[in-house]
Chain length 429, copies 2
């Protein structure tokens, strides 16, 4: 019976995964929006994946939301795999907590958005959640037996950026996956930190930017010499790193000193200076927050000790923008299969009946398909197909049918090939 | 190959759906929190489904988030079924749009949260999204051929409530599903409005409060005589309605006049005065927003006409609170199967090896199971089981095994029964 339920669920999911273009309310644009300088925003707005509300503030439209949700689910899977438990904290922040850690004042943190309750109390809009989650954990962590704890969320953050010109890569409002680790010992933290770094590498690889994303040494804090960033090589980035592609590591310019080079056993000559996008960061917080907010645990001897923490961030919306920046070409977006809104873009060129049959069969086979059933020109359909960036294009026309099937082309290639439905199925698998 | 993918996906989902209690970081509490007066917040905090950040501002903990996501997915399915396309708008709101519709001033809308950009520009935090989505649709709707459009989102809203004492039923920050309809004609709007009302009835029924939830006539606006609310009968509500259980309809006190009674063909004598919780509302907006913001379409003759709109809201977090209010008993929460965090609560009472085997088998069968494998007393396990409210409790002890299996009990019943694994499978289906 439960298996039956799963089957029905599957059937529903499959149906929902496909769509006719004529049903989609969004329209693509021929021209880049005049008020955007970043490539990610230009392409995503032209293709109608996002809509600009204000500088640095973007709405996700149906196709954009599909990509975003796929990215989120990949992150979720990898966070669950390393023991993360999902929670959902609040945007509104209690000033008392932030005063305790000395991060409330605008002189200390200069990108707060603040708002006011009717009784005059000022509240913050969270740009991160160390304070809130540390205070919350006081309800749940008392003894060494309660540790370790790994909790994460995917939630909207707010940052009052002075300027916002990088499209969805640096928004005033954006999605963040932030995981917080709570351990009894430094060794346990160190082990989890490495596991999380590996999970991050896996995430960047799964979303298609693994080959150009590098673990990068960045400035640490009181509790660790370095933190680590994950930097994707791209001219659109705001960071500068010194990279050894051979060794697969990099140093952020901010800590690029002779001392650090010596420490890491790297020579200046083997490093390449490149511009990059920070797509993730991991940080050993030590007892900075647990001491300030009083999060302690009793060890085996009953002695109270501060919990040792770490924080681990990836911005799903920034990741989406990064994928567009590094993988698109002059014709439009190029989505990796793992995050593409659909796997197949089926175009009918004057063969609607047959294309409809293919559409039905593709759905039954569980292939996510966008079916361009619109009554428009071939040129418009091809142009939109390149712009939208779906991995496989299948064109059904009288000509293709005469030759034995659909004209099949990868988005990344220029040559197409005629294939029967069975050949398409083999090709896709 | 795609089918293979689905199979693997299923396997992953099943595994993720089950959990050992010893892994869960949250702890239940024996006492109600002193600072909460509402039953939903008291129980949800004691059971550790939510955490209170501030009055009216709650974090969702792992079990609470599971329930919330199930509610969201039921809503999503029903909205997709009536043609809704999911989007994700922003919290930050552009004042210009709201000035155009005369809803920016705090004299007109008294529950705005506002914040300020570094350049001094005031922004709002959205409590609803008519303005934003109407302005956005100007990019996508030009002709009658582009209509109808139905777009919805599940997104965080902010309301600067003077007081917040109803737990998660009236938050300062809360989740909302808001759908907006865009039609060419009044007839088309009227038809969709009824379809959406039916979808709402289905949602309330699916989440387990259908029998006590009633479509209720409420005040309309310039464009329609009435709007409709969906009111769940409960003493915890803030609304008063006049209800005919027999006819399955109600009138909100705010429009309870002789004229309205006559209009609806109802007699005072057949109506019962009850307190209720507003769990949904649907509203014909007409051209209020499209005229103000210039959202027009060209009809068949090329004449520009304002688009006719409607808005349709359900708060998933309020719905969660309502389920707790109306279904819980003196021992704790009682979740309907459709939204329960797990289907089965498996308790090991000194028979860990055998309970572990049952846990493995339940997972393989695709049953979402919380396995209480903790090293605590039977009393604590039973108490927590009643508090958490999982629909089916399976107790494995030497005694139960001696009698042939697990001691099985529904959360809603007091009698238990010994069942073999096969009998449990039949019982659950």
């Amino acid at each position: 019976m439960q298996n039956e339920k799963f089957k029905i669920e599957n059937e529903k999911i499959r149906k929902m995964h496909s769509m006719k273009h004529s049903q989609l309310f969004t329209k693509t644009r021929k021209e880049n929006p005049a008020d955007e300088v970043s490539r990610n925003a230009q392409l995503l707005i032209r293709a109608s994946f996002i809509h600009k509300e204000m500088a640095g503030v973007y709405t996700f439209l149906p196709l954009g939301l599909r990509v975003l949700q796929k990215i989120e689910n990949i992150i979720r899977e990898e966070m669950n795999r390393i023991g993360g438990q999902e929670v959902f904290l609040t945007a509104l922040q209690n000033p008392e907590l932030w005063q305790t850690t000395d991060r409330w004042s605008d002189d200390v943190v200069d990108n707060w958005f603040k708002t006011t309750l009717k009784n005059g109390t000022e509240l913050g809009l969270g740009f991160t959640h160390e304070e809130a989650i540390t205070a919350m954990m006081k309800q749940h962590i008392a003894s060494y037996r309660d540790l370790p704890v790994y909790a994460y969320q995917i939630q909207t953050k707010f940052r009052n950026e002075e300027r916002a010109k990088s499209g969805i890569m640096r928004g005033r409002e954006f999605l963040m996956k932030d995981l917080y680790s709570f351990n009894a010992t430094q060794e346990e933290l160190d082990t989890f930190y490495e596991r999380c770094a590996e999970a991050y590498i896996k995430i960047f690889s799964r979303v298609g930017i693994g080959a150009r994303t590098f673990k990068t040494f960045a400035s640490g804090g009181v509790f660790s010499k370095y933190s680590h960033e994950f930097q994707t090589v791209s001219d659109a980035g705001e960071d500068t790193i010194y990279l050894s592609r051979k060794k697969g590591i990099a140093i952020n310019e901010e800590v690029y000193t002779d001392e650090v080079l010596a420490d890491l056993g790297l020579q200046k000559e083997e490093l390449e200076r490149v511009t990059s996008i920070e797509v993730g960061n991991i940080f050993k917080l030590g007892t900075r927050f647990s001491e300030a907010l009083g999060l302690t645990y009793k060890d085996e001897n009953g002695t109270a000790r501060p919990v040792i923490m770490g924080s681990y961030g990836i911005g799903p919306s920034r990741l989406l923008g990064t994928i567009v920046e590094v993988l698109s070409d002059e014709k439009g977006i190029v989505w990796p299969e793992s995050v593409a809104p659909f796997q197949v873009h089926l175009l009918s060129l004057g063969a609607d009946t047959e294309a409809n049959e293919w559409y039905e069969k593709l759905q039954t086979a569980g292939i996510e398909t966008l079916f361009d059933d619109r009554d428009t020109s071939a040129g418009e359909k091809f142009g939109d197909s390149d712009l939208l960036g779906i991995p496989y294009r299948l064109v059904i026309s009288k000509r293709s049918l005469g030759k034995g099937g659909a004209e099949v082309k990868r988005r990344t290639e220029s040559e197409s090939k005629i294939m029967s439905f069975e050949e398409v199925m083999n090709f896709l698998s």
